[in-house]
């Protein structure tokens, strides 16, 4: 390489799409239409603790394990041991990959205080190291995390800049797909203006903490010659890697099943066109306290288990044993299903973890159990400390995720009075296919009513029906006998 070229030489606005190197990170490949620009450097910037190193690590690990592309991780901050430990928290076995010649970890130790500068120099040592590492394992991917450490430890900024320029061109000439991480700068993307050197793809990570809740987001700031979503996408760091949850609009291609699943309550099946919910649809059960929302969830779970379908029940208010006891009192015995492993409870106090952890755990459990039915009881437990907007977005994504997987989802939602539907209900209502409203304000101690507020794609009765929680389950009244004129008499009907 002789003289550094001007980056502007890279012909701007070529409409040809760059080839992609898939990251294997769930969601990221979707929003970048397939991955990072193949054979080119990508700049990954963001503040301290935003997940840059983990994302970069996962890019290499997935490259090595899923795409047969070995990788070199050159770390300027963390030692190889730190990296190994961090990666282990995501379930990645770096020593194993190193032993299989699929990964090289090189920790570049620089300490200004141990070094005297006496005349002109270049960074050829870095190039030699990188070159050797790439050749040793035939690397196709490279991570440099983070080059800016050089600025703190080397005195000649002029030398550094021309060498970095040379490095970026060198990486491109080697044809490796590279991630270069950089610290966020004041009022600009990176502290030392590394964005000047990378013209193909720039990704920014962000993390905010409000209350106990960490929200992480990712934005593709720039992606040459390609359409990309400019939104901020929330992402999670799970026990088995990162997970980006793309927005709903990107994937409205759920296959709408015509198969029906029983609600577990014969008369409710009858109300819903005679057959129950659609498989893979989302059902919202709202109601004031004590109206029996969990009972409807238990009926659905019971019916699913009878069909032999794995069911996952997330409980954020009651312990599993409490739910089992309460449901047994109304004649629904879920214990055999638990014993058979068909029904799995996952219970946690809403305040125990941040939102991110909850959703991460839910995703993980769903992926592990591969249930056909998922129950979240109740949905609004997630609202803490007025983090309304973040929560809404995250919940929308959860609902969307279930739909995408064809999993029937039931969400219960506590509303404070029957006249007012909760904020959360309105937020998710567009994603909801069947919305049941439970009401406890009819006369009599057991006076409860159910209204089907909506149920997409099926004929359904919109009239309130009374129901009781009996020793033999949810007893929903028959269709009213004289309902043609819109009056209902079923408030007093025997159940």
């Amino acid at each position: 390489m002789t003289r550094p070229n001007n980056p502007a030489d890279d012909r701007p606005a070529t409409r040809k799409q760059l080839d992609r190197a898939p990251t294997g990170i769930e969601g990221l490949d979707e929003i970048t239409s397939g991955g990072l620009p193949k054979g080119r450097p990508t700049l990954l910037c963001g503040g301290t603790g935003c997940g840059k190193t983990l994302l970069a690590l996962e890019f290499l690990v997935r490259g090595a394990t899923e795409f047969d592309e070995p990788g070199v991780f050159m770390s300027f901050e963390e030692t190889a041991l730190d990296l190994i430990e961090n990666a282990a928290s995501l379930g990645f076995d770096l020593p194993g990959l190193v032993a299989q010649n699929k990964l090289v970890l090189d920790h570049v130790h620089l300490q200004r205080s141990e070094m005297e500068e006496a005349g002109s120099y270049d960074l050829e040592g870095l190039f030699i190291r990188l070159d050797l590492a790439i050749r040793t394992i035939g690397a196709r991917r490279v991570v440099l995390d983070t080059l800016e450490v050089l600025f703190a430890n080397l005195g000649s900024e002029h030398t550094l800049r021309s060498e970095l320029h040379r490095l970026f061109l060198w990486l491109k000439a080697r044809g490796v797909t590279a991630i270069i991480t950089a610290e966020q700068g004041e009022g600009r993307l990176t502290r030392h203006g590394l964005e000047e050197y990378v013209s193909d793809c720039v990704i920014r990570l962000d993390h905010r903490v409000s209350g106990q809740v960490v929200s992480r987001s990712l934005r593709v700031v720039k992606y040459r010659g390609s359409m990309h979503g400019t939104n901020e996408y929330p992402f999670l760091i799970e026990e088995d890697g990162m997970l980006l949850l793309p927005v709903t609009s990107l994937n409205l291609e759920h296959i709408a099943s015509t198969e029906r699943v029983s609600t577990g309550i014969p008369n409710l099946d009858a109300m819903l066109g005679g057959q129950g919910y659609y498989r893979g649809s989302s059902i919202l059960v709202s109601g004031t306290a004590g109206t029996g929302k969990s009972s409807f969830a238990a009926c659905l779970a019971d019916a699913a288990c009878r069909r032999g379908e794995p069911t996952l029940y997330f409980s954020f208010e009651e312990s599993p044993s409490q739910i089992l006891r309460n449901m047994r009192s109304i004649g629904i015995d879920l214990k055999p299903w638990v014993d058979q492993g068909l029904l799995r409870f996952w219970a946690a106090r809403p305040t125990l973890y941040g939102l991110e952890m909850h959703l991460a755990t839910m995703h993980r459990e769903i992926r592990a159990l591969q249930p056909r039915v998922v129950i979240v009881d109740p949905l609004n437990s997630f609202i803490i400390d007025g983090n309304g907007n973040d929560v809404k977005m995250m919940l929308m994504r959860l609902v969307d995720y279930l739909k995408g997987q064809g999993i029937t989802g039931m969400f219960t939602s506590l509303v404070h009075s029957s006249s007012e539907t909760g904020r959360i209900d309105i937020a998710v209502s567009s994603l909801i296919d069947t919305w049941l409203l439970l009401n406890a304000e009819l006369e009599g101690p057991s006076g409860r009513s159910l209204t089907v507020l909506k149920s997409r794609g099926m004929a359904h009765s919109g009239q309130p029906r009374s129901f009781r929680l009996t020793e033999r389950g949810v007893a929903l009244s028959e269709a009213p006998r004289q309902s043609r004129d819109g009056f209902t008499a079923d408030g007093k009907e025997e159940a």
Binding site: D106, H109, E116, A118, G119, Y121, E124, I128, A133, L154
Partner: protein, 109 residues
């Protein structure tokens, strides 16, 4: 004069100069380090010049980033001087053969 030869003194200072190929800068650094050693450490040092292109594995092993890098392996602790070694003062400070004066500190800032 003692009847027995004094133990060799050459290993009091063990220096290694890492360069990349035969660039003018490498030649410069080699000439500079030889001159400085002869002027200040005559008979007390060994100097090895390493071409990293020939032994690339040493770049990671010795934590080389900038080239040329002069390493004082002995006496401990290990010290590094980077550059073509044209600034003799800085080389002497880097090898701990001369204390850094406040003036030097100010100049370095």
């Amino acid at each position: 004069m003692t009847p027995w030869p004094t133990p060799p003194q050459e290993d009091r200072y063990v220096l290694r100069l890492y360069v990349a190929g035969h660039s003018p800068r490498a030649a410069q650094a080699i000439a500079n380090v030889k001159r400085i050693c002869e002027d200040h450490l005559q008979g007390l040092y060994t100097l090895e010049v390493v071409d990293l292109y020939q032994q690339p594995q040493l770049a990671a092993g010795e934590q080389i980033v900038a080239v040329p890098t002069l390493i004082r392996a002995l006496p401990q602790p290990l010290r590094r001087v980077i550059g073509d070694l044209s600034n003799t003062e800085k080389v002497l400070i880097g090898l701990d053969l001369k204390k850094q004066t406040p003036d030097d500190t100010a100049a370095a800032e």
